[in-house]
Protein backbone atom coordinates (compact mmCIF):
# COMPACT_ATOMS: atom_id res chain seq x y z
CA UNK A 1 0.00 0.00 0.00
CA UNK A 2 1.55 3.25 -1.08
CA UNK A 3 0.93 6.75 0.18
CA UNK A 4 -1.18 7.83 -2.77
CA UNK A 5 -3.44 4.77 -2.65
CA UNK A 6 -6.33 6.47 -0.83
CA UNK A 7 -6.34 9.29 -3.37
CA UNK A 8 -6.15 6.84 -6.26
CA UNK A 9 -9.06 4.88 -4.83
CA UNK A 10 -11.18 8.03 -4.62
CA UNK A 11 -10.44 8.88 -8.24
CA UNK A 12 -11.08 5.29 -9.29
CA UNK A 13 -14.53 5.56 -7.72
CA UNK A 14 -15.23 8.64 -9.80
CA UNK A 15 -14.08 6.75 -12.87
CA UNK A 16 -16.45 3.89 -12.15
CA UNK A 17 -19.48 6.13 -11.87
CA UNK A 18 -18.49 8.01 -15.01
CA UNK A 19 -18.15 4.73 -16.89
CA UNK A 20 -21.66 3.78 -15.83
CA UNK A 21 -22.94 6.89 -17.58
CA UNK A 22 -21.99 5.37 -20.91
CA UNK A 23 -23.97 2.21 -20.26
CA UNK A 24 -27.47 1.67 -21.64
CA UNK A 25 -30.19 2.48 -19.11
CA UNK A 26 -31.98 -0.59 -17.81
CA UNK A 27 -35.27 1.28 -17.49
CA UNK A 28 -38.32 -0.26 -19.18
CA UNK A 29 -40.55 2.54 -20.44
CA UNK A 30 -43.61 0.81 -19.02
CA UNK A 31 -46.84 1.85 -20.67
CA UNK A 32 -45.28 1.83 -24.14
CA UNK A 33 -42.89 -1.00 -23.58
CA UNK A 34 -43.97 -4.08 -21.64
CA UNK A 35 -41.90 -6.93 -20.38
CA UNK A 36 -42.92 -10.52 -21.14
CA UNK A 37 -44.24 -12.24 -18.03
CA UNK A 38 -42.81 -15.56 -16.87
CA UNK A 39 -44.53 -18.76 -18.09
CA UNK A 40 -46.06 -19.51 -14.70
CA UNK A 41 -47.06 -15.91 -13.98
CA UNK A 42 -50.43 -15.62 -12.24
CA UNK A 43 -52.38 -12.68 -13.56
CA UNK A 44 -56.05 -12.09 -14.28
CA UNK A 45 -58.19 -15.20 -14.83
CA UNK A 46 -59.32 -16.40 -18.23
CA UNK A 47 -62.22 -18.81 -18.84
CA UNK A 48 -61.09 -21.20 -21.57
CA UNK A 49 -63.05 -22.78 -24.44
CA UNK A 50 -62.71 -25.97 -26.47
CA UNK A 51 -61.69 -25.74 -30.13
CA UNK A 52 -65.31 -25.82 -31.24
CA UNK A 53 -66.10 -22.81 -29.09
CA UNK A 54 -67.93 -24.55 -26.25
CA UNK A 55 -66.97 -23.36 -22.79
CA UNK A 56 -64.86 -25.64 -20.66
CA UNK A 57 -66.58 -24.46 -17.49
CA UNK A 58 -69.31 -26.81 -16.34
CA UNK A 59 -70.49 -24.70 -13.44
CA UNK A 60 -69.37 -27.10 -10.71
CA UNK A 61 -68.33 -24.30 -8.28
CA UNK A 62 -65.24 -26.21 -7.14
CA UNK A 63 -63.17 -23.07 -7.83
CA UNK A 64 -65.46 -21.07 -5.55
CA UNK A 65 -65.07 -23.73 -2.88
CA UNK A 66 -61.28 -23.73 -3.21
CA UNK A 67 -60.93 -19.97 -3.20
CA UNK A 68 -59.39 -18.91 0.14
CA UNK A 69 -60.42 -15.30 -0.39
CA UNK A 70 -63.98 -16.16 -1.37
CA UNK A 71 -63.61 -14.07 -4.48
CA UNK A 72 -65.44 -16.33 -6.94
CA UNK A 73 -69.18 -16.62 -7.34
CA UNK A 74 -70.64 -19.26 -9.69
CA UNK A 75 -74.24 -20.00 -10.51
CA UNK A 76 -74.99 -23.00 -12.73
CA UNK A 77 -77.82 -23.73 -15.16
CA UNK A 78 -78.81 -26.76 -17.28
CA UNK A 79 -77.60 -27.10 -20.88
CA UNK A 80 -80.07 -28.09 -23.58
CA UNK A 81 -79.26 -29.08 -27.15
CA UNK A 82 -81.06 -25.94 -28.30
CA UNK A 83 -78.87 -23.71 -26.15
CA UNK A 84 -75.61 -25.47 -25.44
CA UNK A 85 -72.85 -23.62 -23.60
CA UNK A 86 -70.62 -26.46 -22.47
CA UNK A 87 -70.31 -30.16 -23.33
CA UNK A 88 -71.40 -31.16 -19.84
CA UNK A 89 -74.82 -31.29 -18.25
CA UNK A 90 -74.57 -27.86 -16.80
CA UNK A 91 -72.76 -24.59 -17.46
CA UNK A 92 -72.04 -21.43 -15.48
CA UNK A 93 -74.85 -18.98 -16.07
CA UNK A 94 -73.13 -16.50 -13.77
CA UNK A 95 -69.41 -16.40 -13.19
CA UNK A 96 -67.98 -13.48 -11.26
CA UNK A 97 -64.56 -12.86 -9.75
CA UNK A 98 -63.98 -9.95 -7.43
CA UNK A 99 -60.48 -8.80 -8.35
CA UNK A 100 -60.11 -6.82 -5.14
CA UNK A 101 -60.59 -9.98 -3.08
CA UNK A 102 -58.54 -12.26 -5.31
CA UNK A 103 -55.06 -13.02 -4.03
CA UNK A 104 -53.87 -14.72 -7.24
CA UNK A 105 -53.00 -17.93 -5.38
CA UNK A 106 -54.08 -20.15 -8.28
CA UNK A 107 -56.09 -22.62 -6.17
CA UNK A 108 -59.06 -22.17 -8.52
CA UNK A 109 -56.85 -23.34 -11.36
CA UNK A 110 -55.88 -26.45 -9.37
CA UNK A 111 -59.44 -27.17 -8.30
CA UNK A 112 -60.97 -26.96 -11.74
CA UNK A 113 -61.80 -30.46 -13.10
CA UNK A 114 -61.92 -29.28 -16.74
CA UNK A 115 -59.05 -26.76 -16.84
CA UNK A 116 -61.61 -24.09 -17.58
CA UNK A 117 -60.18 -21.38 -15.37
CA UNK A 118 -56.57 -20.36 -15.90
CA UNK A 119 -54.62 -17.45 -14.47
CA UNK A 120 -53.51 -15.41 -17.48
CA UNK A 121 -50.80 -12.82 -18.05
CA UNK A 122 -52.81 -9.63 -17.63
CA UNK A 123 -51.55 -7.69 -14.61
CA UNK A 124 -52.99 -4.28 -15.46
CA UNK A 125 -55.83 -4.39 -12.97
CA UNK A 126 -56.74 -1.04 -11.54
CA UNK A 127 -60.16 0.34 -10.87
CA UNK A 128 -61.75 3.65 -10.10
CA UNK A 129 -64.47 2.03 -7.96
CA UNK A 130 -65.21 -1.27 -6.25
CA UNK A 131 -68.03 -2.17 -8.61
CA UNK A 132 -65.75 -2.22 -11.64
CA UNK A 133 -63.41 -4.62 -9.84
CA UNK A 134 -65.98 -7.40 -10.26
CA UNK A 135 -65.22 -9.23 -13.47
CA UNK A 136 -68.26 -10.93 -14.99
CA UNK A 137 -68.33 -14.00 -17.17
CA UNK A 138 -68.25 -12.16 -20.52
CA UNK A 139 -65.15 -10.21 -19.37
CA UNK A 140 -63.34 -13.37 -18.32
CA UNK A 141 -64.34 -15.60 -21.22
CA UNK A 142 -61.85 -16.26 -23.98
CA UNK A 143 -62.75 -14.70 -27.31
CA UNK A 144 -63.56 -16.91 -30.32
CA UNK A 145 -62.01 -16.62 -33.78
CA UNK A 146 -65.35 -17.11 -35.56
CA UNK A 147 -68.73 -15.64 -34.52
CA UNK A 148 -70.65 -18.88 -35.18
CA UNK A 149 -68.55 -20.53 -32.46
CA UNK A 150 -70.04 -18.24 -29.83
CA UNK A 151 -72.07 -19.87 -27.09
CA UNK A 152 -74.91 -20.77 -26.81
CA UNK A 153 -74.69 -23.09 -29.81
CA UNK A 154 -77.51 -25.13 -31.35
CA UNK A 155 -76.35 -28.75 -31.70
CA UNK A 156 -77.79 -32.03 -33.01
CA UNK A 157 -79.50 -34.03 -30.27
CA UNK A 158 -77.47 -36.92 -28.90
CA UNK A 159 -74.02 -35.57 -29.76
CA UNK A 160 -73.36 -34.55 -26.17
CA UNK A 161 -74.18 -36.91 -23.37
CA UNK A 162 -73.09 -37.46 -19.80
CA UNK A 163 -69.62 -38.64 -20.86
CA UNK A 164 -68.81 -35.96 -23.42
CA UNK A 165 -66.66 -33.83 -21.10
CA UNK A 166 -63.10 -34.88 -22.09
CA UNK A 167 -60.86 -36.58 -19.55
CA UNK A 168 -58.30 -34.19 -18.07
CA UNK A 169 -54.66 -34.91 -18.78
CA UNK A 170 -51.84 -34.38 -16.33
CA UNK A 171 -50.90 -30.70 -16.05
CA UNK A 172 -48.09 -29.49 -18.30
CA UNK A 173 -46.19 -27.25 -15.88
Amino acid sequence: MSVLDPVIELVRGLGTTLKMMLERPVTVQYPEQKREVRPRFRGRHVLKRYENGLEKCIGCSLCAAACPADAIFVEAAENTDEKRFSPGERYASTYEINMIRCIYCGYCEDACPTEAIVLGDNYELSFFDRRSAIYTKDMLLESVPDPHMLTPQKVEPGVYNRRSVPEMKDPQD
Binding site: V3, L4, P6, V7, L10, G13, L14, T16, T17, L18, M20, M21, E23, R24, P25, V26, T27, Q29
Partner: protein, 381 residues
Protein backbone atom coordinates in the same frame (compact mmCIF):
# COMPACT_ATOMS: atom_id res chain seq x y z
CA UNK B 1 -26.70 61.11 -10.79
CA UNK B 2 -29.12 58.92 -8.88
CA UNK B 3 -32.02 60.99 -10.12
CA UNK B 4 -31.25 59.83 -13.62
CA UNK B 5 -34.21 57.54 -14.33
CA UNK B 6 -32.38 55.55 -16.97
CA UNK B 7 -29.95 54.38 -14.31
CA UNK B 8 -32.84 53.14 -12.21
CA UNK B 9 -34.28 51.45 -15.26
CA UNK B 10 -30.96 49.74 -15.95
CA UNK B 11 -30.74 48.45 -12.39
CA UNK B 12 -34.32 47.29 -12.49
CA UNK B 13 -33.85 45.38 -15.73
CA UNK B 14 -30.63 43.79 -14.53
CA UNK B 15 -32.24 42.78 -11.23
CA UNK B 16 -35.25 41.22 -12.92
CA UNK B 17 -33.09 39.35 -15.42
CA UNK B 18 -30.77 38.08 -12.68
CA UNK B 19 -33.59 36.88 -10.42
CA UNK B 20 -35.42 35.22 -13.29
CA UNK B 21 -32.20 33.57 -14.44
CA UNK B 22 -31.52 32.24 -10.96
CA UNK B 23 -35.07 30.96 -10.47
CA UNK B 24 -35.15 29.17 -13.81
CA UNK B 25 -31.61 28.04 -13.14
CA UNK B 26 -32.79 26.47 -9.89
CA UNK B 27 -35.71 24.76 -11.60
CA UNK B 28 -33.55 23.29 -14.32
CA UNK B 29 -30.74 22.40 -11.94
CA UNK B 30 -33.14 20.00 -10.21
CA UNK B 31 -33.93 18.52 -13.61
CA UNK B 32 -30.24 18.39 -14.54
CA UNK B 33 -29.29 16.72 -11.30
CA UNK B 34 -32.03 14.12 -11.54
CA UNK B 35 -31.16 13.31 -15.14
CA UNK B 36 -27.42 13.15 -14.52
CA UNK B 37 -27.80 11.03 -11.38
CA UNK B 38 -30.14 8.73 -13.27
CA UNK B 39 -27.66 8.25 -16.09
CA UNK B 40 -24.91 7.43 -13.62
CA UNK B 41 -27.21 4.83 -12.06
CA UNK B 42 -28.10 3.51 -15.56
CA UNK B 43 -31.62 4.85 -15.30
CA UNK B 44 -33.29 7.40 -17.54
CA UNK B 45 -34.67 9.87 -15.02
CA UNK B 46 -37.66 12.15 -15.45
CA UNK B 47 -38.62 12.08 -19.13
CA UNK B 48 -42.40 12.14 -19.06
CA UNK B 49 -43.43 15.76 -18.51
CA UNK B 50 -42.72 17.50 -21.78
CA UNK B 51 -39.93 16.61 -24.21
CA UNK B 52 -37.07 14.95 -22.32
CA UNK B 53 -38.92 15.76 -19.10
CA UNK B 54 -38.19 19.45 -19.51
CA UNK B 55 -41.52 20.43 -17.97
CA UNK B 56 -40.84 18.35 -14.84
CA UNK B 57 -39.71 21.37 -12.74
CA UNK B 58 -43.00 23.11 -13.56
CA UNK B 59 -44.98 20.04 -12.50
CA UNK B 60 -42.98 19.88 -9.28
CA UNK B 61 -43.58 23.56 -8.61
CA UNK B 62 -47.33 23.21 -9.10
CA UNK B 63 -47.37 20.23 -6.77
CA UNK B 64 -45.44 22.08 -4.05
CA UNK B 65 -47.61 25.18 -4.28
CA UNK B 66 -50.79 23.20 -3.71
CA UNK B 67 -49.41 21.10 -0.89
CA UNK B 68 -50.68 21.64 2.62
CA UNK B 69 -48.43 23.70 4.84
CA UNK B 70 -48.15 22.40 8.37
CA UNK B 71 -46.85 24.37 11.32
CA UNK B 72 -45.97 22.25 14.36
CA UNK B 73 -48.08 23.13 17.39
CA UNK B 74 -45.13 24.07 19.58
CA UNK B 75 -43.09 25.76 16.90
CA UNK B 76 -41.99 29.36 17.22
CA UNK B 77 -44.48 30.67 14.64
CA UNK B 78 -42.73 33.89 13.71
CA UNK B 79 -39.27 32.43 13.27
CA UNK B 80 -40.74 29.37 11.61
CA UNK B 81 -42.26 31.66 9.00
CA UNK B 82 -39.20 33.85 8.51
CA UNK B 83 -36.49 31.19 8.48
CA UNK B 84 -37.10 30.10 4.86
CA UNK B 85 -37.11 33.73 3.80
CA UNK B 86 -33.84 34.41 5.61
CA UNK B 87 -32.32 31.41 3.87
CA UNK B 88 -33.69 32.28 0.47
CA UNK B 89 -32.80 35.97 0.25
CA UNK B 90 -28.99 35.72 0.63
CA UNK B 91 -28.86 32.96 -1.97
CA UNK B 92 -30.25 35.42 -4.53
CA UNK B 93 -28.61 38.68 -3.54
CA UNK B 94 -25.17 37.10 -3.36
CA UNK B 95 -25.25 36.92 -7.16
CA UNK B 96 -25.51 40.70 -7.44
CA UNK B 97 -21.77 41.30 -7.70
CA UNK B 98 -20.90 38.43 -10.02
CA UNK B 99 -19.82 39.73 -13.43
CA UNK B 100 -21.36 37.99 -16.43
CA UNK B 101 -19.43 39.90 -19.05
CA UNK B 102 -17.25 42.92 -19.67
CA UNK B 103 -18.57 46.47 -19.72
CA UNK B 104 -20.50 46.94 -22.93
CA UNK B 105 -21.80 49.88 -24.91
CA UNK B 106 -25.55 49.54 -25.38
CA UNK B 107 -27.97 52.31 -26.38
CA UNK B 108 -25.18 54.83 -26.04
CA UNK B 109 -24.34 54.06 -22.43
CA UNK B 110 -21.75 51.95 -20.69
CA UNK B 111 -23.36 48.97 -18.99
CA UNK B 112 -21.38 46.59 -16.83
CA UNK B 113 -22.79 43.10 -16.94
CA UNK B 114 -23.22 42.66 -13.22
CA UNK B 115 -25.87 43.98 -10.90
CA UNK B 116 -23.40 46.05 -8.93
CA UNK B 117 -19.80 46.60 -9.91
CA UNK B 118 -18.54 47.37 -6.41
CA UNK B 119 -14.88 47.49 -5.51
CA UNK B 120 -15.20 45.15 -2.51
CA UNK B 121 -17.13 42.47 -4.32
CA UNK B 122 -15.25 39.64 -2.66
CA UNK B 123 -16.01 40.99 0.80
CA UNK B 124 -19.68 41.32 -0.13
CA UNK B 125 -19.79 37.71 -1.28
CA UNK B 126 -18.12 36.49 1.92
CA UNK B 127 -20.45 38.40 4.21
CA UNK B 128 -23.63 37.35 2.40
CA UNK B 129 -22.45 33.76 2.31
CA UNK B 130 -22.18 33.80 6.10
CA UNK B 131 -25.69 35.23 6.56
CA UNK B 132 -27.22 32.16 4.92
CA UNK B 133 -26.43 30.06 7.98
CA UNK B 134 -28.84 32.12 10.13
CA UNK B 135 -31.86 30.93 8.21
CA UNK B 136 -30.82 27.34 8.59
CA UNK B 137 -30.11 27.46 12.29
CA UNK B 138 -33.31 29.41 12.95
CA UNK B 139 -35.30 26.89 10.95
CA UNK B 140 -33.82 24.09 13.00
CA UNK B 141 -34.53 25.83 16.27
CA UNK B 142 -38.01 27.15 15.54
CA UNK B 143 -39.35 23.78 14.37
CA UNK B 144 -39.14 22.46 17.94
CA UNK B 145 -37.98 19.09 16.65
CA UNK B 146 -34.81 17.41 17.86
CA UNK B 147 -33.78 16.21 14.43
CA UNK B 148 -34.31 19.61 12.90
CA UNK B 149 -32.38 21.13 15.79
CA UNK B 150 -29.48 18.74 15.29
CA UNK B 151 -29.50 19.43 11.56
CA UNK B 152 -29.43 23.16 12.15
CA UNK B 153 -26.60 22.86 14.68
CA UNK B 154 -24.54 20.60 12.45
CA UNK B 155 -25.10 22.90 9.54
CA UNK B 156 -24.05 26.02 11.41
CA UNK B 157 -20.97 24.34 12.90
CA UNK B 158 -19.99 22.96 9.52
CA UNK B 159 -20.50 26.20 7.66
CA UNK B 160 -18.61 28.25 10.21
CA UNK B 161 -15.69 25.78 10.18
CA UNK B 162 -15.44 25.64 6.44
CA UNK B 163 -15.96 29.36 6.00
CA UNK B 164 -12.42 29.89 7.28
CA UNK B 165 -10.92 27.88 4.46
CA UNK B 166 -13.39 29.45 2.06
CA UNK B 167 -12.24 32.90 3.14
CA UNK B 168 -8.61 31.90 2.67
CA UNK B 169 -9.53 30.65 -0.80
CA UNK B 170 -10.94 34.11 -1.50
CA UNK B 171 -7.70 35.61 -0.20
CA UNK B 172 -5.71 33.58 -2.73
CA UNK B 173 -7.80 35.01 -5.53
CA UNK B 174 -7.53 38.50 -4.09
CA UNK B 175 -3.72 38.20 -3.93
CA UNK B 176 -3.43 36.87 -7.47
CA UNK B 177 -5.92 39.40 -8.83
CA UNK B 178 -4.47 42.23 -6.74
CA UNK B 179 -8.00 43.51 -6.28
CA UNK B 180 -11.23 42.82 -4.43
CA UNK B 181 -13.30 43.81 -7.42
CA UNK B 182 -14.61 40.72 -9.14
CA UNK B 183 -14.50 42.40 -12.56
CA UNK B 184 -10.79 43.08 -12.12
CA UNK B 185 -10.11 39.58 -10.82
CA UNK B 186 -11.69 38.18 -13.96
CA UNK B 187 -9.81 40.54 -16.24
CA UNK B 188 -6.53 39.49 -14.55
CA UNK B 189 -7.25 35.97 -15.75
CA UNK B 190 -7.04 37.10 -19.37
CA UNK B 191 -3.63 35.44 -19.71
CA UNK B 192 -3.97 32.45 -17.44
CA UNK B 193 -6.66 31.13 -15.14
CA UNK B 194 -5.89 31.30 -11.45
CA UNK B 195 -6.75 27.61 -11.21
CA UNK B 196 -3.50 26.93 -13.07
CA UNK B 197 -1.42 29.39 -11.08
CA UNK B 198 -2.76 28.07 -7.80
CA UNK B 199 -4.22 24.59 -8.44
CA UNK B 200 -4.20 23.55 -4.80
CA UNK B 201 -6.02 26.73 -3.81
CA UNK B 202 -8.68 26.12 -6.44
CA UNK B 203 -8.98 22.51 -5.34
CA UNK B 204 -9.45 23.49 -1.69
CA UNK B 205 -11.98 26.08 -2.77
CA UNK B 206 -13.99 23.47 -4.65
CA UNK B 207 -13.96 21.09 -1.67
CA UNK B 208 -15.03 23.84 0.68
CA UNK B 209 -17.86 24.97 -1.59
CA UNK B 210 -19.29 21.44 -1.33
CA UNK B 211 -19.34 21.83 2.44
CA UNK B 212 -20.72 25.36 2.25
CA UNK B 213 -23.77 24.35 0.24
CA UNK B 214 -24.24 21.14 2.29
CA UNK B 215 -23.69 18.85 -0.67
CA UNK B 216 -22.54 15.26 -0.57
CA UNK B 217 -20.13 14.06 0.77
CA UNK B 218 -20.57 16.85 3.36
CA UNK B 219 -24.38 16.71 3.54
CA UNK B 220 -24.56 15.79 7.22
CA UNK B 221 -27.08 18.56 8.02
CA UNK B 222 -29.59 16.88 5.71
CA UNK B 223 -28.61 13.27 6.19
CA UNK B 224 -31.90 11.50 5.51
CA UNK B 225 -30.71 8.33 7.18
CA UNK B 226 -29.78 9.89 10.49
CA UNK B 227 -31.77 13.13 10.76
CA UNK B 228 -34.83 12.36 8.62
CA UNK B 229 -34.18 15.55 6.67
CA UNK B 230 -32.25 17.83 8.98
CA UNK B 231 -33.28 21.40 9.53
CA UNK B 232 -36.25 21.30 7.15
CA UNK B 233 -37.89 18.17 8.62
CA UNK B 234 -40.96 20.08 9.73
CA UNK B 235 -41.37 22.16 6.61
CA UNK B 236 -43.81 21.35 3.86
CA UNK B 237 -45.36 22.97 0.85
CA UNK B 238 -44.05 26.31 -0.30
CA UNK B 239 -41.93 26.88 2.80
CA UNK B 240 -40.04 23.70 2.06
CA UNK B 241 -39.79 24.77 -1.56
CA UNK B 242 -38.05 27.95 -0.42
CA UNK B 243 -35.36 25.91 1.38
CA UNK B 244 -35.00 23.72 -1.63
CA UNK B 245 -34.67 26.73 -3.88
CA UNK B 246 -32.15 28.37 -1.57
CA UNK B 247 -30.04 25.23 -1.56
CA UNK B 248 -29.93 24.83 -5.31
CA UNK B 249 -29.47 28.54 -5.92
CA UNK B 250 -26.55 28.48 -3.52
CA UNK B 251 -25.11 25.66 -5.59
CA UNK B 252 -25.42 27.71 -8.75
CA UNK B 253 -24.09 30.87 -7.16
CA UNK B 254 -21.15 29.19 -5.49
CA UNK B 255 -20.23 27.61 -8.82
CA UNK B 256 -20.41 31.05 -10.40
CA UNK B 257 -18.11 32.39 -7.69
CA UNK B 258 -15.69 29.49 -8.12
CA UNK B 259 -15.70 30.09 -11.87
CA UNK B 260 -15.14 33.81 -11.35
CA UNK B 261 -12.29 33.45 -8.89
CA UNK B 262 -10.38 30.53 -10.36
CA UNK B 263 -11.69 29.58 -13.79
CA UNK B 264 -11.65 32.85 -15.65
CA UNK B 265 -15.25 33.91 -14.95
CA UNK B 266 -16.87 35.14 -18.12
CA UNK B 267 -13.55 35.02 -20.01
CA UNK B 268 -12.66 32.48 -22.66
CA UNK B 269 -9.80 29.98 -22.40
CA UNK B 270 -6.58 31.99 -22.21
CA UNK B 271 -5.30 30.49 -25.47
CA UNK B 272 -8.33 31.83 -27.36
CA UNK B 273 -7.36 35.36 -26.32
CA UNK B 274 -7.04 37.00 -29.75
CA UNK B 275 -9.51 34.92 -31.72
CA UNK B 276 -13.15 35.30 -32.63
CA UNK B 277 -14.06 33.47 -29.44
CA UNK B 278 -12.61 36.18 -27.25
CA UNK B 279 -14.96 38.13 -25.01
CA UNK B 280 -13.14 41.29 -26.12
CA UNK B 281 -14.42 40.79 -29.66
CA UNK B 282 -17.92 39.55 -28.85
CA UNK B 283 -19.17 40.60 -25.43
CA UNK B 284 -22.22 38.36 -25.67
CA UNK B 285 -19.99 35.30 -25.36
CA UNK B 286 -19.37 36.29 -21.72
CA UNK B 287 -22.64 35.00 -20.24
CA UNK B 288 -22.37 31.88 -22.42
CA UNK B 289 -18.90 31.05 -21.12
CA UNK B 290 -20.12 31.65 -17.60
CA UNK B 291 -23.06 29.32 -18.13
CA UNK B 292 -20.84 26.63 -19.60
CA UNK B 293 -18.41 26.82 -16.69
CA UNK B 294 -21.25 26.68 -14.16
CA UNK B 295 -22.75 23.64 -15.89
CA UNK B 296 -19.40 21.83 -15.82
CA UNK B 297 -18.79 22.67 -12.15
CA UNK B 298 -22.33 21.61 -11.25
CA UNK B 299 -21.73 18.33 -13.03
CA UNK B 300 -18.76 17.73 -10.74
CA UNK B 301 -20.99 18.32 -7.72
CA UNK B 302 -23.57 15.84 -9.01
CA UNK B 303 -20.90 13.35 -9.99
CA UNK B 304 -19.34 13.47 -6.53
CA UNK B 305 -22.76 13.03 -4.94
CA UNK B 306 -23.27 9.92 -7.05
CA UNK B 307 -19.89 8.48 -6.11
CA UNK B 308 -18.68 9.19 -2.63
CA UNK B 309 -20.35 8.24 0.64
CA UNK B 310 -21.08 10.82 3.31
CA UNK B 311 -18.19 11.29 5.75
CA UNK B 312 -18.68 10.97 9.47
CA UNK B 313 -19.38 14.19 11.36
CA UNK B 314 -16.29 14.20 13.61
CA UNK B 315 -14.10 13.42 10.61
CA UNK B 316 -15.72 16.24 8.73
CA UNK B 317 -14.80 18.62 11.53
CA UNK B 318 -11.31 17.16 11.84
CA UNK B 319 -10.82 17.50 8.10
CA UNK B 320 -11.96 21.09 8.14
CA UNK B 321 -9.92 22.24 11.10
CA UNK B 322 -6.86 20.01 11.02
CA UNK B 323 -6.30 19.61 7.29
CA UNK B 324 -8.00 22.26 5.21
CA UNK B 325 -7.38 25.24 7.47
CA UNK B 326 -3.60 24.76 7.90
CA UNK B 327 -3.26 23.80 4.25
CA UNK B 328 -5.09 26.86 3.03
CA UNK B 329 -3.05 29.06 5.36
CA UNK B 330 0.08 27.59 3.83
CA UNK B 331 -1.35 28.12 0.35
CA UNK B 332 -2.03 31.78 1.09
CA UNK B 333 1.52 32.16 2.38
CA UNK B 334 3.01 30.47 -0.69
CA UNK B 335 0.92 32.57 -3.03
CA UNK B 336 1.94 35.80 -1.33
CA UNK B 337 5.59 34.76 -1.25
CA UNK B 338 5.54 33.79 -4.93
CA UNK B 339 4.00 37.10 -5.96
CA UNK B 340 6.51 38.99 -3.86
CA UNK B 341 9.38 36.99 -5.35
CA UNK B 342 8.21 37.72 -8.91
CA UNK B 343 7.86 41.41 -8.09
CA UNK B 344 11.17 41.88 -6.27
CA UNK B 345 13.25 39.98 -8.79
CA UNK B 346 11.30 41.53 -11.68
CA UNK B 347 10.89 38.16 -13.32
CA UNK B 348 7.22 37.26 -14.10
CA UNK B 349 8.23 33.63 -14.71
CA UNK B 350 8.90 33.26 -10.99
CA UNK B 351 5.11 33.24 -10.52
CA UNK B 352 5.34 29.59 -11.52
CA UNK B 353 7.06 28.79 -8.25
CA UNK B 354 3.54 29.08 -6.76
CA UNK B 355 1.97 26.01 -8.40
CA UNK B 356 5.14 23.95 -7.97
CA UNK B 357 5.49 24.64 -4.26
CA UNK B 358 1.74 24.40 -3.69
CA UNK B 359 1.51 20.97 -5.25
CA UNK B 360 4.45 19.86 -3.14
CA UNK B 361 2.68 21.10 -0.02
CA UNK B 362 -0.51 19.38 -1.17
CA UNK B 363 1.31 16.09 -1.57
CA UNK B 364 2.92 16.57 1.83
CA UNK B 365 -0.56 16.99 3.29
CA UNK B 366 -1.70 13.76 1.67
CA UNK B 367 1.32 11.99 3.15
CA UNK B 368 0.56 13.37 6.59
CA UNK B 369 -3.09 12.31 6.40
CA UNK B 370 -1.97 8.88 5.30
CA UNK B 371 0.47 8.53 8.18
CA UNK B 372 -2.17 9.68 10.65
CA UNK B 373 -4.67 7.16 9.32
CA UNK B 374 -2.04 4.40 9.47
CA UNK B 375 -1.18 5.31 13.05
CA UNK B 376 -4.85 5.17 14.04
CA UNK B 377 -5.32 1.84 12.30
CA UNK B 378 -2.23 0.53 14.12
CA UNK B 379 -3.55 1.71 17.48
CA UNK B 380 -6.89 0.04 16.88
CA UNK B 381 -5.29 -3.25 15.92
Amino acid sequence: MLSDWTLWLEWFIKAVVLILALLTGFAYLTWYERRALARIQTRIGPNRAGPQGLLQPIADAVKLIFKEELVPAKADKILFFWAPVITMVPSIIIAAVIPFGPTVELFGRKISLSMANINVGVLYVMSIASIAVYGIVLAGWSSNNKYAMLGGLRSSAQMISYELSLGLGFVVAILLGNSMNLHEIVEKQRDIWFALVQPVGAFIFLIVTLAEVNRAPFDMPEAEQELTAGYHSEYSGMKFALFFMAEYQKMIVICMIAATLFFGGYREFWFLKDTFFSVDRNWWLGPIYMLAKVIVLLFFMIWIRATWPRIRYDRLMAFGWKVLLPLSLAIVFITAAGILLAQELNNPMLIWTIPVVSIMVGLFTVVMIYRELRRKAYERA
